[in-house]
């Protein structure tokens, strides 16, 4: 019996090593990487990010995290991704309508929170970016954000022996390319899953809403949930919610991408997860407080040819309803995510 065990384990060991080696040729894959899966919280729709094209490893995630917090991705070294995407604000910019960029400039849109990106097919308020891997190139090259060029970033990163070691480990050799840099950033960002708020605990049967939260949830389901669809709290569609066009920015939203007047003033529906820590609100941060948002839907909607039909009768919200809604929205704050050391600046 013992002999049989030895032989059988040998056979299986040989087979396993054959299996591992068989695909190592030419693929540049590193057998020593620790691969990870994107968490799939109960009830979430299927993940949109194509992991097969960019398998996520602990090492790749750590490289992405290092890049996310590295000022060298910007022209003067002052603006890492994390300068506009702060963890304690669910990776939005805390208390800023517009963020600060290179050479004392402002951005022209409010920085969105970064979480659950693996479920998004298009990035930006106007959906202009068709793949998460392409996303970092926009802020890096925008003159009023990080103000850098891609070749200059690749050179700065490639000149750093520590980075070269990271690239070697993750990608099989130390070459620093656009594709590798952005894929590493994606590996970090797709793992940023926010699904541990009180709301999620309640859904999982591990906690319960208090009476106010419960009443707020009922109002939410009745008045907000068709666009801010659970469990992502966005339907990921582009809609005109009746905001008058900003007089100086003249931001037409989705129309800037499609060129179609039917898309004028449409913006991607933002997730309400972590909404209480991501103020100011709207694509241009024009509302500093959630009460301004309620008032907008209650009475401020401006009707035009593309205003969403769901808002035809506005959204009447009494003072009591507003209070209860706020109690519910607070349950969407994911404190565990916003303080998770895995997503914090590397030491």
């Amino acid at each position: 019996m013992r002999k049989l065990l030895v032989i059988s384990s040998l056979v299986i060991a040989v087979c396993c090593s054959l299996l591992v080696q068989s695909c190592n040729k030419g693929g540049g894959e590193n057998a020593e990487l620790t691969f990870m899966d994107i968490p799939q919280p109960a009830g979430f729709p299927p993940i949109q990010y194509d992991v097969a094209n960019n398998p996520i490893s602990k090492e790749g995630f750590e490289l992405g995290r290092k890049l996310f917090y590295d000022g060298r991705l910007s022209k003067d070294g002052n603006f890492p991704c994390a300068s506009c995407h702060q963890q304690f604000a669910a990776f939005a910019t805390f208390e800023h309508d517009f963020s600060h960029g290179f050479n004392n400039q402002f951005t022209t849109r409010n920085a969105p929170g970064l979480f659950n990106l693996a479920w998004h097919k298009e990035m930006h308020h106007d959906g202009g970016i068709a793949h998460l891997d392409l996303q970092p190139l926009a802020p890096i090259t925008a003159p009023n954000e990080m103000g850098e060029t891609i070749p200059a970033v690749l050179k700065k990163i490639g000149d750093d022996p520590d980075y070269r070691q990271h690239f070697q480990r993750v990608f099989g050799n130390e070459e620093v390319t656009t594709e590798r840099m952005t894929k590493a950033l994606s590996q970090f960002m797709v793992m940023m899953v926010s699904a541990t708020s009180k709301y999620d605990q309640v859904k999982a049967g591990k906690a319960s809403f208090d009476v106010n939260e419960e009443a707020g949830y009922a109002i939410f389901k009745n008045k907000c949930a068709s666009c801010h669809k659970e469990p992502l709290f966005t339907d990921l569609q582009y809609r005109n919610n009746g905001l008058p066009m900003h007089p100086t920015l003249k931001d037409v939203g989705r129309m800037r991408i499609t060129g179609s007047s039917q898309d004028s003033l449409k913006f991607k529906v933002p997730s309400l997860r972590n909404v209480m820590v991501t103020y100011p609100y709207m694509h241009d941060g024009r509302f500093g407080d959630i009460s301004n948002v309620y008032e907008h839907y209650n009475s401020g909607i401006q009707f035009g040819p593309t205003t969403d039909p769901l808002l035809k009768t506005k959204i009447p919200l009494s003072a009591t309803e507003r209070g209860l809604l706020t109690e519910f929205l607070k349950t969407l704050t994911d404190a565990a995510f916003n303080t998770d050391p895995r997503f914090a600046a590397p030491q």
Binding site: S8, I12, C15, D133, L134, I150, T177
Partner: protein, 264 residues
């Protein structure tokens, strides 16, 4: 002696081993298929592009006059071509890089070497631009690396062609004009295919181990002169996808002509 656990019976061990070997083999299947695709017999083809303007070679800084009589000089001219194909009874796509970036400032970029399946062809076709799948499927490398500056970061997509220069008729600072043409979304898709028939001779045969050199003229006069008459004075700047970009792409796709074919 206790009864051996069922999963340790010789039969289950054998099954596991066979299963793992099968798995190992299928894991490699994809790779094998990929390699076999490259072993079909083919001959070398070489495309050499000559940027010209109404017959004279284009050089950065020299002055030209378009059909509307607007004088201008060219500082930058870059263009993606790809998916090169031999046409005929049995059309075949050339092996090699899927895309090439032609750049007036880099003479070496104006020559493309690829391999085409052996056979007889009556023409040549290639995309001028980048197919829509590659526009949206993440970061590409090689000629399509966004670091080459032919990519819009804020509105995902490749710039298929760039023509920049100066003209006294432009109302912009320093008389600049800038055409950055791209776009893959309907209705402003600017991806075009150039289709060229062989004329003298009307067919060519690609032989294994042979080299066929095709000389192509790119007449930049066609950038302005075509179905969409482009005037620098009226429209000196196009740097986003849209109706203008799609129309200009419909002009410049006509700039290619075959001037000579050599076979050895």
């Amino acid at each position: 002696m206790p009864r051996p656990l069922t999963y340790l019976t010789p039969r289950s061990i054998l099954l596991t081993a066979v299963g793992l070997i099968l798995l190992a083999l299928t894991a490699c299947q994809k790779q094998l298929n990929f390699e076999s695709g490259q072993t079909s017999p083919g001959g070398k083809i070489r495309l050499i592009f000559f940027p010209t303007f109404n017959g004279s070679p284009v050089l950065p800084g020299l002055s030209y006059t378009n059909i509307a009589g607007e004088p201008f000089s060219i500082q930058v001219f870059k263009l993606y071509v790809g998916k090169i194909r031999g046409n005929g009874n049995q059309p075949a796509e050339a092996d090699g890089e899927p895309y090439y970036l032609l750049d007036l400032a880099k003479p070496s970029s104006l020559q493309i070497d690829a391999t085409l399946k052996t056979g007889t062809y009556n023409g040549l076709a290639f995309l001028v631009g980048v197919d829509s799948a590659r526009n949206v499927s993440g970061v590409q490398s090689g000629a399509l690396d966004p670091a080459n500056g032919m990519f819009w970061t804020w509105n995902t997509g490749y710039i298929y062609a760039k023509l920049e220069g100066n003209s006294p008729v432009s109302n912009q600072i320093n008389g600049k004009f800038e055409y950055h043409i791209g776009g893959f979304r309907t209705p402003f898709n600017a991806i075009r295919e150039a289709k060229l028939s062989f004329t003298q001779p009307s067919t060519i045969t690609i032989k294994e181990d042979g080299l066929t050199t095709i000389y192509l003229r790119m007449d930049l006069a066609k950038w302005f002169d075509g179905p969409y008459p482009l005037r620098i004075a009226n429209l000196p700047v196009v740097t986003t996808p849209g109706a203008e970009a799609a129309s200009i792409a419909g002009n410049y796709v006509n700039m290619f002509s075959i001037t000579q074919i050599e076979q050895e």
